[in-house]
C-alpha cells in the first residue's frame, strides 16, 4: 500500500508549550484513518501544520513524495488536501450555493452543476438557496464536506465531523465517508466520538502530548496500555516528586 500523506518529526511549540513533539504519522492511500488523543494532545495543531495554517518549527510534511512543509493553505488545498474545521467556517449570510462556489471561485454553469451534485450527495441540496446561517450545526458540517468535495482532493482531513451533531446526522456523515472511501477517497479524521472513530476507521493514530503513542487497527489501539494511560492521565500517586516519574 502506498503512503499518501506523512509527517516526519514535526515539532511545533506555542510559547513554552510543546504542541507537537517529533510527530511522525503516515496515512495510506485509500484508507479511512483516525487521529485521536486526549484534549490538548496536538490533533488540531497537526492538522494546522499539514494544511499550512501553522508553521512547523522543525520536521517535514509530504504528500505522496512531494515535500509540502509550510506551504500556504491555498497551495496545500490546490495540491489535493481538503479540510474541514472543528467549528465550521462558513459564510452565514451567503446562500448555501454561494458558499459552495467560494472555494472554486466558480461562476460557470458547470461549477454550479458540480456544486449542486455535491449538495445532493451530502443531502442538503434542498437548502441551496437558503442562507447558510439558517442551517443546523450538523448541516453546516455537511456543507463543509460538500465544498471540500467540489475540489476533488486526494485526501480529506475532517476535524470533529461528529462533534455536536445529532445521531441521525452523525450516521449520515459516516455513510457519506464510507461511500467516498469505497470510491477511493482517503480520509484523516480527528474525532472524540469513539464509536464513530472505531466503527469507521481502518487505522487509528493516537497522540499524547504531541507525540504518537500508538498506531494500528481500532481493536489494537483500544486495548493498548499507552492509549489508556494517555486518556486516564498519569496517576501521580504519593511519590514525593512526580516530575521524575515521567
Amino acid at each position: 500500500m502506498t503512503v499518501l500523506l506523512r509527517t516526519e518529526g514535526v515539532h511545533k511549540s506555542f510559547g513554552g508549550v510543546q504542541a507537537l513533539d517529533a510527530c511522525t504519522v503516515q496515512i495510506d492511500e485509500g484508507t479511512v484513518a483516525g487521529l485521536i488523543g486526549p484534549n490538548g494532545s496536538g490533533k488540531t495543531t497537526l492538522f494546522n501544520v499539514i494544511t499550512g495554517y501553522a508553521k512547523a518549527d522543525a520536521g517535514q510534511v509530504y504528500l505522496s513524495d512531494r515535500r509540502i512543509t509550510n506551504s500556504a493553505p491555498d497551495k496545500v488545498f490546490a495540491l489535493g488536501i481538503g479540510r474541514t474545521f472543528q467549528l465550521t467556517r462558513i459564510f452565514p449570510s451567503l446562500t448555501v450555493m454561494e458558499n459552495m462556489l467560494v472555494p472554486c471561485r466558480g461562476t460557470r454553469a458547470a461549477d454550479r452543476k458540480r456544486a449542486m451534485e455535491q449538495l445532493e450527495f451530502v443531502g442538503i441540496a434542498g437548502y441551496h438557496a437558503a442562507p447558510a446561517g439558517s442551517l443546523s450545526y450538523g448541516q453546516r458540517k455537511l456543507l463543509e464536506l460538500a465544498y471540500v468535495l467540489v475540489a476533488d482532493p486526494a485526501i480529506i482531513l475532517l476535524d470533529e465531523p461528529a462533534g455536536g451533531v445529532n445521531l441521525s446526522l452523525v450516521n449520515q456523515i459516516a455513510g457519506r465517508i464510507r461511500e467516498l472511501n469505497a470510491a477511493g477517497k482517503t480520509f484523516l479524521i480527528v474525532e472524540h466520538n469513539m464509536e464513530f472513530v472505531m466503527g469507521l476507521c481502518d487505522q487509528v493514530t493516537v497522540l499524547d502530548s504531541g507525540t504518537v503513542v500508538a498506531a494500528g487497527p481500532p481493536a489494537m489501539v483500544r486495548t493498548d496500555r499507552r492509549v489508556l494511560d494517555a486518556y486516564l492521565g498519569e496517576d501521580i500517586g504519593d511519590d514525593p516528586d512526580p516530575g521524575e516519574r515521567t
Binding site: Y231, G233, E234, G243
Partner: protein, 262 residues
C-alpha cells in the same frame, strides 16, 4: 460498586455507604437530572450524591456531560427534569447568585484572577457578598491558615504568579465563603505534571480543613486516587460509581473512554 449492568444505582436514600459500614450525610443529592442546550439533552438522567466531608470526583470522556452537570448545579443552566437538593434545599430554578448564597462555590476551569490586583485583593473578592468587614478579615485569616504559602504572596500581583500558584489563590478565594460545597472544574487543566501534585495537595488541604468537594477532573487516575468517591460519566449518564479506589481499579473504565462498552 455499581456498574452499567449490575444495578442498583448509586444509593438513593438520604445516606451514602462509605464501605466502612458507617453512613455519611449527603450535601448534594441529584436525581434523574436531564439538561442540555438547544435541541438535545446532554445529561440524560444523572443521579449522584456528594457525601459530606468527602471528595467526590467525576470523570469521563469528552462530551460525557461533566461541565453541563456543574453548570446545572451552579445555576448557569436550568435543568429540564430532575431534582437537585442541597442539604434538602431545592436548587432547581435558582440563579447563580442564589446558589452562591446557599453556599455552593465553583472554581472555573479557566484562570479567573484579576491579574493586576494583588493576591490578597483577589482572595478578599471571594467574600464580596459578605457585608461585614470584620467577618471578611476573620475569613481571610482563616483562609491563610489553610494555605500559609499564599500569605507569603499576599502583596504580589496575581498575574506574576505561575499557573499552579494562581490555581491555589483561586481555591483560597473560593474558601472565603466557607462553602457547604466547593466545586472544582478540571483544576489540573493546562498545568505541567510537576505542578499537578501541588494542586492536588491543595485540594487535600481544603478537604482536611472540612470542605466538601465535588471535583471534575480530566486526569482520571490522579483525581480518583485523591477522592473518597468516584463517578464515571459517559454520554450523559453515570456509568460507574463507588469509592475512588474501586472506580480506579475497575477495568471497565478504559472501555468507557475508548469505546467498546455495549
Amino acid at each position: 460498586m455499581t456498574g452499567p449492568d449490575d444495578s442498583p444505582a448509586p444509593a438513593t436514600g438520604a445516606a451514602l455507604g462509605t464501605g466502612a459500614g458507617t453512613t455519611v450525610r449527603s450535601v448534594l443529592k441529584i436525581e434523574d437530572l436531564v439538561a442540555g442546550y438547544g435541541g438535545g439533552d446532554v445529561l440524560r438522567g444523572v443521579s449522584l450524591d456528594v457525601a459530606e466531608g468527602g471528595i467526590t470526583c467525576v470523570v469521563g470522556p469528552n462530551g460525557a456531560g461533566k461541565s453541563t452537570l456543574m453548570a446545572s448545579v451552579s445555576g448557569l443552566l436550568r435543568p429540564r427534569l430532575g431534582s437537585m437538593l442541597l442539604e434538602g434545599e431545592n436548587l432547581v430554578g435558582r440563579s447563580p447568585r442564589q446558589v452562591l448564597r446557599l453556599g455552593v462555590v465553583q472554581v472555573p476551569q479557566n484562570h479567573s484572577l484579576f491579574r493586576d490586583m494583588t493576591v490578597k485583593e483577589n482572595v478578599e473578592l471571594g467574600g464580596y457578598i459578605l457585608s461585614d468587614r470584620a467577618l471578611t478579615a476573620r475569613r481571610l485569616a482563616a483562609v491563610f491558615d489553610v494555605f500559609p504559602q499564599i500569605a507569603g504572596w499576599a502583596g504580589q500581583k496575581a498575574g506574576s504568579l505561575s499557573g499552579g500558584q494562581q490555581r491555589l489563590v483561586e481555591f483560597a478565594r473560593a474558601l472565603m465563603l466557607e462553602p457547604r460545597l466547593l466545586m472544582l472544574d478540571e483544576p489540573s487543566m493546562g498545568l505541567a505534571p510537576k505542578v499537578l501534585r501541588t494542586v492536588f495537595d491543595a485540594i487535600r488541604q481544603m478537604n482536611a480543613a472540612g470542605t466538601t468537594i465535588l471535583l471534575v477532573e480530566q486526569n482520571a487516575r490522579a483525581g480518583l486516587r485523591l477522592s473518597s468517591h468516584g463517578v464515571v460519566m459517559e454520554n450523559g449518564r453515570v456509568r460507574l460509581s463507588g469509592s475512588g479506589r474501586e472506580v480506579l481499579d475497575n477495568p471497565e473504565i478504559g472501555a468507557l473512554y475508548l469505546g467498546g462498552v455495549p
